[in-house]
Symmetry: C2
Subunit: 144 residues, 2 copies
DNA sequence: CGTACTGCCGACCAATTATATAGACATAAT
DNA sequence: ATTATGTCTATATAATTGGTCGGCAGTACG
């Protein structure tokens, strides 16, 4: 399951993506529009900022805006920041690998073998889909 | 992430699959071979039994054996029993659907749209891969 | 019969993780 | 100065996960 943290992160980035080339948007406004608990969102945006995706400005008239083109922010990157591994088993993770406690020889583990396939299928989608794509999908869905 | 419960379930079914057409195998033996906490495995096997995948026999000489052909036990079924939904967001789940608290109109939600694709990709693999396939993969991996 | 073996079942528990919330502080605009 | 914002650390609460305990119930076998 995707954590709420990740879902909120994506929603915030989508809103900021739609808001591009406008003045920075306040946490409280994003929180209100997307119905996200404000203090929780605060932490999430801070993580995204520290990861280089967001620009922030303090003080009156401050807020957040994207630090990159929405086309260059892929879901996989966001998820790795907020949720960690993409794979469903640690032994099949590329970026967060660690051995399963109980496994004897993982090189011949059939479960791992299957879940590497699952990981690759998931990864293909998530690393090809950007915030811009999510926005585009929404526009298509609304029109239809 | 796959829960340990699910991983243990698959491991147990694989062992029982290899053990087919032999007398029933005891929980304690499966637990020992696969390094799974016995009491925890007990619960898991019970779930699988109640779902119709296993046959059990009490008393001396009792134990567990498969109630179906390993070819007919798909990973997706196991996972739905032990972990629940396959989809990463509840609003994209086929068997465990429920609305996201904060979403306004989910029909035009871009996130949901993407994660329906992820679900389908995952589902394709998990509903095509059986316990027999997992065993076959292990055999291939060992030989190479 | 009784005894040992084995699964069945309900309750319980500890640790971790997820989801927040609080409050003091730093900085910017006016 | 004052107000509006983001930053940061700590804490609270709830849910989930992973695991354990003890006793009951059915079966085999002497």
């Amino acid at each position: 399951m995707l954590s709420k943290k990740t879902k909120y992160a994506i929603k915030a980035l989508v809103v900021l993506g739609k808001n591009a080339d406008k003045p920075p948007m306040q946490i409280s406004k994003i929180a209100e529009e997307e119905r996200i608990p404000k203090k929780f969102l605060e932490q999430i945006l801070l993580d995204l900022r520290n990861a280089g995706f967001l620009y922030s400005k303090k003080g009156a008239g401050g807020g957040y805006s994207l630090n990159k083109d929405p086309k260059d922010i892929y879901l996989v990157s966001i998820m790795r920041i907020t949720d960690g591994p993409i794979a469903m088993v640690p032994c099949a993770s590329l970026n967060f690998y660690h051995k399963c406690d109980e496994c004897r020889q993982e090189t011949s583990c059939g479960i791992r073998d299957v879940f590497i396939d699952v990981r690759d299928a998931t990864l293909k989608i998530l690393s090809e889909t950007s915030i811009a794509d999510v926005i585009a999908r929404e526009n298509t869905l609304i029109k239809v």
